[in-house]
């Protein structure tokens, strides 16, 4: 045990002096993530507000005068000197936001209680435009409808046989769990894995490439002790990155502008000792699994570049199940509880939402421990081969 600790102590000291590891495991997750969350949200809000307050430039073709009057207000600038062809060209060049072309019999049909036809030209990339114009037209539409119903002496209630009032009984915690809950594990799994990658390559392939592995193998430390010391270092770096990512995300969410009060309370409550213990009980074996897996792979490489080539495809194998957890409908059950990576992502969602099934949670933790042990054993088998450890 002392030898393992000696190896661990040295590897940690060596790793923590490496700027690349520090940046990927601490700086990016702890500083960049909260800044990104706050920055992106603020930017999105600013852009949305700008888009919503922007005066729309709309061209009207074959319009009835009363409709033009109803559409006219300070948020819209109406133009009547366009043809369909010039209007389309103007929209494509962004000098117009949209164009409404009324059919020649539009007014006659409306007056005859028939449907008046109109074409709305716009760019779907201008995502708020369609809804803003539709909202305005809906107001005119409902006014005409009300007039028709009045004329026919029909109550508006006749057209609404029932009225639905939606009452959402999902708590803020559940809502947060099912929304942000999917995103959180995706991010911390990515950061955890990528943070493990560099020390794994540096401590194993790097040592092999430099030739220092040979000296280390001639010391009284056994191969098992050396490997475990290195694996623990890799896992600690991964765990640090995952913890920093979670802390960074929580911090980012807490300082989000205009966050609803109940969501803020939920975020504050989320970082409870229970949540931390439950999360770390999964994260620790996950990091050890990553460390074992990466060690077993990078030991095959003769140099840093070769190790990177070997490890890159593995990134996709790890990321895909983490991404699956964000798809609506993919839920934690007895099948998904045994799919590595996906299980930890789904369980995190459930823990945040407070709806975790403890039986399934125990199965996930045990399966992750089994996986970590299998990865360590596999890694040890590779590490025991002379052809693997020497250049």
């Amino acid at each position: 045990m002392n030898t393992i600790l000696t190896v661990l102590k040295k590897e940690l000291k060596d790793t923590l002096r490496d700027k690349r590891t520090l940046i990927s495991a601490i700086v990016i997750p702890a500083l960049i993530i909260p800044l990104l969350i706050i920055g992106v949200t603020k930017l999105q809000k600013t852009l949305m507000a700008k888009e919503e307050n922007k005066q729309l430039k709309i061209a009207l073709i074959g319009y009835p005068e009363n409709i033009k009057t109803q559409l006219q207000d300070s948020t819209v600038a109406l133009f009547t000197n366009f043809t369909v062809a010039t209007g389309k060209e103007a929209i494509s060049k962004d000098s117009l936001d949209g164009m409404i072309e009324f059919s020649t019999d539009f007014l006659a049909n409306v007056n005859d209680m028939k449907s008046g036809k109109m074409n709305l030209y716009y760019k779907s990339t201008n995502f708020l435009l369609s809804s803003r114009i539709s909202e305005k037209l809906e107001v005119i539409k409902s006014q005409i409808l009300n007039e028709r119903l009045k004329k026919l002496n029909i109550s508006t209630e006749t057209l609404a046989p029932f009225d639905i009032t939606k009452v959402d009984i999902a708590t803020a915690k559940e809502q947060l769990g099912k929304t942000v809950g999917g995103f959180l594990p995706y991010i911390f799994i990515i950061f955890c894995f990528t943070a493990c990658m560099y020390p794994a390559i540096d401590l194993i392939t790097g040592e092999k490439e430099k030739g220092t592995m040979e000296t280390l193998l001639s010391s009284p430390a056994s191969r098992f002790q050396i490997l475990i010391g290195k694996m623990l270092t890799i896992a600690i770096v991964g765990l640090t990155a995952a913890s920093m990512t979670i802390a960074g995300m929580v911090l980012g969410l807490k300082f989000l502008p205009d966050i609803p009060a109940d969501f803020l309370t939920t975020i504050n409550n989320m970082v409870s000792p229970k949540f931390i213990v439950m999360l770390f009980a999964m994260l620790i074996p996950l990091c050890l699994f990553f460390a074992g897996l990466l060690s077993a792979i990078v030991i095959r490489a003769k140099c840093f570049k070769e190790a990177q080539t070997l490890v890159t495809p593995l990134t996709f194998v790890i990321f895909i199940p983490a991404m699956l957890a964000m798809i609506p409908g993919v839920q934690l059950n007895w099948q998904t509880a045994f799919i590595p990576i996906l299980n930890i992502a789904l369980a995190t969602k459930e823990i945040i939402a407070g709806t975790i099934n403890m039986g399934q949670y125990a199965a996930i933790v045990l399966s992750l421990i089994a996986l970590a042990l299998a990865a360590a054993l596999f890694s040890y088998k590779q590490f025991s081969k002379e052809s693997m450890v020497l250049k």
């Binding site: 030898t3 040295k10 030739g211 000296t215 193998l217």
Partner: protein, 272 residues
């Protein structure tokens, strides 16, 4: 394993008994070596002994099997056949005990770039379970002897090859091993650094340590060695004391004698 192999010759510190090291060849390697053989013998039934307190030199051309032999003595590689007794311990049966007795210096001068010399020797002292006080005394002695004190605060990445090699030597000697294995210790070093290493080897000999080293530089061999062996293509082709070697090849320089022996595979070479 035969009982006769296990028993250490009382006059030898390292006893190499009929060791072979075989490697499997991949298809690519077979193509490169232009052979159909599935295996290759890097070392083939080699036997020799090193007397306690002597300097033993292992000579051979590049790829002769010197490093493989030294790696087997250092327990990094396991012999495919035969055994090696180091201070009475078998490398195949008790590699951990053997590793406690030896100090191994590889041909590479690379070290941990982000650590200082003090941290590196401390790491290896801890792996050897050294007492703190003894470690400090030993470190101070080695650092003074090798002139490391003046750059002891620098990180390895900022050091020259010579400085690194000095730190490598301090690292392999920190636990005061009774057997020291040097694989081309002066290779690629400047004359001053090489000389300080030669002086250290001499000091080791005075301290009663057994030293086995490989080298290409015949002047070093002449200066330091008590015994020598020559390996060619994995086979031991010559083994003798330095005294007998000098007598045997009195009319030739050491380099000429070495070339002659290798050329003739250790047979029918021109003796004095």
């Amino acid at each position: 394993m035969q009982a006769s192999i296990k028993k250490l010759n009382t006059t030898s510190m390292i006893e190499i008994q009929n060791i072979s090291k075989q490697y499997s060849l991949s298809k690519k390697q077979q193509k490169e070596l232009q052979t159909n053989a599935a295996t290759i013998n890097a070392v083939n039934e080699v036997s020799f002994t090193c007397t306690p307190g002597s300097v033993f030199s292992l000579l051979g051309a590049n790829g002769a099997g010197k490093t493989t032999t030294l790696r087997m003595i250092a327990t990094i590689l396991k012999p495919t056949k035969g055994d090696i007794l180091v201070g009475g311990e078998s490398v195949t049966e008790n590699p951990e005990k053997v590793r406690k007795k030896i100090g191994f210096l590889t041909g590479s001068t690379n070290l941990y770039d982000r650590l200082t010399p003090g941290e590196i020797v401390q790491y290896f002292a801890d792996l050897h379970g050294m007492d703190k006080t003894i470690f400090e005394q030993r470190k101070d002695k080695l650092f003074t002897q090798l002139g490391i004190h003046e750059f002891s605060k620098k990180r390895i990445a900022q050091m020259s090859t010579g400085m690194k090699q000095k730190v490598s030597i301090a690292r392999s000697m920190i636990h005061d091993p009774s057997i020291v294995i040097f694989d081309e210790p002066t290779s690629g070093l400047d004359v001053i650094t090489a000389n300080s290493i030669i002086e250290l080897i001499k000091q080791c000999k005075q301290d009663g340590k057994t030293i086995i080293f490989s080298s290409h530089i015949m002047s070093e061999v002449d200066l330091l060695c008590d015994e020598l062996a020559i390996i060619s293509k994995g086979n031991l082709i010559y083994s003798n004391t330095m005294k007998n070697f000098r007598t045997e090849f009195a009319h030739q320089s050491l380099t000429e004698a070495f070339i002659d022996i290798v050329k003739h595979d250790g047979k029918n070479f021109a003796k004095a």
